[in-house]
Symmetry: C2
C-alpha cells in the first residue's frame, strides 16, 4: 500500500463512520454508545471517539441531567443536537415564495409562505424577494441560537442541479435563470454548496421525510399549484430519471386536443386540473380586486363556495378530479406505486376530488384489483416543498458531516 495514501484513507473511513453513527441516531435515537456500537458493528472505543467529535461539533447531544458537563459518559443516551445547526429551505413558486428553517431533526423552526403573483415580476425581482425572506429567516434562526449551514431552493420547473440553473418554468415564463449564482452572491448561507431542485421533487422528499408515511416505500406525490407537480418515490428514494426530469405528471396528456399549455403541448393535466384552471372553471378567475384581504378568485373563495355546495364550483373540482384520475392512472400503470399522495392545493380539495379521481383510477389502472393503490391526502399541503428543501440540507449535513467537522483533527479510525 502506498503510505502516502494511508492518512487520506483513514480520514475517509472516519468520515464514513461519523456519518454512519449520525444516521443511526437520526433513525433510531435516542441511543446509547453501546447500542450504536452493536447497530453499526463498530467497536465501543471507536464509537466513543466518534461520538465525542460529534458532540463537540454540535451535531449530537447527550440526554438527561446527569450527562451535563460529562462528555463521554458511556451510559447516557445520544440524540441529534437540535439547538446548534439548521438547514434553510426556500421555494419560489408561481404565486408565492416560502422559507423554512429546519433543525437537525428536520423539524420546522421557522416557516413563512408569502402570497404574490411572481409572473408580474422579473426573475431578479422575485429572487430578491426570496433573498429578503431568507435573511429574515436566518435572523430568526440566529435569535434562536441556530446557525444556518446550508441552503436549498425549490423551483417550479425543470432544473439542472449540477449547473445550478433553472432551465424552464413554463408557468413563470422563465428560461435559463442562473439561480445558484444569484443567491450565492447575496446570501452567506453557511458551509455547504447551495442546492437547487424542482419543487415537485422536493415536495415528494418533504412528504417522504416529514409526511408521516413511515409505512410507504413507494408513492407518487401530486402537488396542485398553478402548475401541477409530480414526484416519484421508489424504495424510499426520489426517482429522478435522466437529468432529474422524472415525475412531470402535470404535463401528462389528459385530453389530446385540450386547451393549450405554456409548455407548448395541448391538454396537459395542469391545464385542466391546475389551480387557475379550476378557478376559471368555477367562475372565479375573472373577478378583480380583493375580498377580505384575500385576492378574489383565491383558493379560500373556492373552498368556501365548495363548502356552500355551489354547483358550478363542485363541477369544476369534479372535472379536475377526473383529469387527475386519468393522469394518476397513467402513473400507476407505468410505475405501480403503493400510494398516491395529494399535496398542495389538492390537500384541501381532497374531500371533493377523491370520488371522481378514484373512480377514474379504478377504471383505468389495470393492476388495481390485485395491487390496490391507496389515495392519501398530504398532511403538509403547500409546505411540502419548502420543508423538503430545508430537509435536503439537513440530510446533507447528516450524510456528510465533514463540512461541519472540518476544523477537527482526526483522532482514530
Amino acid at each position: 500500500m502506498n503510505p502516502e495514501r494511508t492518512p487520506a484513507r483513514q480520514h475517509t473511513v472516519r468520515q464514513h463512520n461519523l456519518a454512519l453513527v449520525l444516521r443511526q441516531v437520526a433513525a433510531g435515537g435516542p441511543l446509547s454508545r453501546a447500542r450504536i456500537a452493536s447497530a453499526t458493528g463498530l467497536t465501543k472505543a471507536t464509537v466513543s471517539s466518534l461520538v465525542d467529535d460529534l458532540v463537540h461539533a454540535g451535531l449530537l447531544t447527550e440526554l438527561g441531567p446527569e450527562a451535563r458537563g460529562v462528555v463521554g459518559r458511556p451510559g447516557s443516551d445520544l440524540e441529534l443536537n437540535r439547538s446548534r445547526y439548521a438547514g434553510l429551505g426556500l421555494e419560489v413558486n408561481v404565486d408565492y415564495v416560502a422559507v423554512c428553517v429546519a433543525d437537525l431533526a428536520g423539524d420546522a423552526r421557522h416557516l413563512r409562505i408569502l402570497a404574490g403573483d411572481n409572473r408580474r415580476h422579473s426573475p431578479n425581482q422575485v429572487l430578491a424577494r426570496a433573498v429578503r425572506i431568507a435573511r429574515t429567516a436566518m435572523a430568526a434562526a440566529g435569535a434562536a441560537g441556530l446557525e444556518v449551514v446550508g441552503l436549498a431552493i425549490a423551483l417550479p420547473g425543470l432544473v439542472e442541479a449540477g449547473e445550478g440553473r433553472l432551465r424552464v418554468a413554463p408557468n413563470l415564463g422563465w428560461t435559463d435563470v442562473p439561480v445558484v449564482d444569484y443567491l450565492a452572491s447575496r446570501i452567506e448561507a453557511g458551509l455547504l454548496p447551495i442546492m437547487v431542485d424542482n419543487e415537485a421533487n422536493l415536495a415528494a422528499l418533504g412528504e417522504l421525510w416529514f409526511g408521516g408515511h413511515g409505512d410507504l416505500a413507494s408513492f407518487v406525490h401530486v402537488s396542485g399549484e398553478i402548475g401541477v407537480g409530480g414526484g416519484i418515490v421508489i424504495d424510499r428514494e426520489l426517482f429522478r430519471g435522466v437529468q432529474g426530469f422524472a415525475g412531470e405528471l402535470g404535463h401528462v396528456t389528459v385530453q389530446a386536443d385540450g386547451p393549450p399549455c405554456r409548455c407548448g403541448a395541448r391538454g396537459c393535466l395542469e391545464q385542466v386540473a391546475g389551480q387557475e384552471a379550476i378557478l376559471r372553471a368555477a367562475g372565479l378567475h375573472a373577478e378583480a380586486g380583493t375580498r377580505g384581504g384575500q385576492p378574489a378568485g383565491s383558493v379560500a373563495e373556492l373552498l368556501s363556495r365548495a363548502r356552500a355546495g355551489e354547483p358550478r364550483v363542485l363541477e369544476a373540482i369534479e372535472a379536475a378530479g377526473r383529469a387527475l384520475g386519468i393522469a394518476v392512472a397513467a402513473a400507476v400503470n407505468l410505475v405501480a406505486p403503493e400510494a398516491v399522495v395529494l399535496g398542495g392545493l389538492y390537500t384541501v380539495l381532497e374531500p371533493w376530488l377523491r370520488g371522481p379521481l378514484t373512480a377514474e383510477l379504478q377504471r383505468r389502472a389495470i393492476g388495481l384489483r390485485w395491487s390496490p393503490v391507496r389515495v392519501l391526502a398530504s398532511r403538509l399541503g403547500p409546505e411540502a416543498a419548502v420543508r423538503g428543501a430545508a430537509g435536503a440540507v439537513v440530510r446533507e449535513v447528516l450524510s456528510s458531516p465533514g463540512a461541519v467537522l472540518k476544523t477537527l483533527t482526526p483522532t482514530g479510525s
Copy 2:
C-alpha cells in the same frame, strides 16, 4: 463465532465467489485466471480453485488448443461453456406461441414462433401447445448436446411471479391460470424452479441483454402485439414496481372517451395502436380466410399495402403513431429514460411510425429540449420476449451456479 455455522458460511462465501467469477467471464470474457483475480480482488489460488469447479461443472471452458486436457493451466483463457447447459424460454401471446433455447452466452440456438389465434382455445389447450413446442425444443437441444436446466414463460398479462399464476390477460380473456403448476406437472425442465413473467417485462430484458443497446442504461421498451406491452429499464435493470405491475403502457389513456378496452377502461393505447386496431383501421380486419399461406388481415398484408402507399393503410399507421407518441410522452414525462425502443410489430412499422410518434413526443414531453430521448427500432422484434425468457434462465444459472454445482464438494474459500 458459532462453529456449527462456519461450514455454511464458507459454503455461502464460495457460492458468492463462484457467481462473481462467472459474472466477470460473462461480462468480459475470454479472461485468464490472472485477470479474473485482479478484476475480482480474489487471490489467484482461490480463482484457480473456483475456475476448476466451474470448468468441471461445465459452466466455463478453456480456450485454445494448448489447453485441451490441461485443466488448471494458468495461462489459458476462460469463457462461458456454450456446449453444455441451456435455458428454455417459452412465450404464450395472443396470436402465437414461441420457444427459444439459449446457451450460457445467451445466444439463441433454437427459436420457433408459431402463429395461431389463442383466443379460440382454452388456457389448457394453449398451454398444451406450449408444452409440445417446449418438448420439441428440448429434443433439439439434446441433439446438439445441450442440457436444459430451467424454464421461464412469458405471458401477455399481469403475472404474480411468486405464486406462478397469470392473474389476468385481458386480450386472451384469461383470469387466474396456475401456469407454473400446469407446466411443472408436464415438463421435466431441469434443475431450477419454473419462472413466469409478463411478456413485456421479458421483452424489455431481452432488449437489454441481446438488443445491442450496450450504451443505454435506461429505456422504455414498447412492444406492439394484439396488446401493447411496455417494460421500463432503469440503471440496466428491469423496473417492476409493486408486484411487478409496472410498465403497463398499453393501458395508458390516449383518448379519455375512446374505444372500450378489454381491461374495462376506455381509450387505452392498445385500443388505438394495437395490432388489431391498426388492421381494423386499415380495412384489413374483416377479411376471411388466408392469402398465400398467411391469415388475411395479417401484418404481412399490412406491410405490403403500406409499402405500396395505400392511403388508408398509411393513415391507420399514422394514427397509431400519434397515439403511441401521446402514451410514450407520458412515460417520458414520468420516467425520463434515455431512449424508447419500438419492439414487436412496431419494429417493422417503424419507418411509418417514427414521424408521427416523434412529432407528438417532441410536443408533449416537456424535458426533451434539454434531455433528448432517442427513438430506436428493436433489432429483435417479436423475438424479444422469448429470448428474454430463455435469457432469464441463463442469468439465474450464472448468478446462482449452486443448483448446477450441487453435486460438487467445496474445496476452498
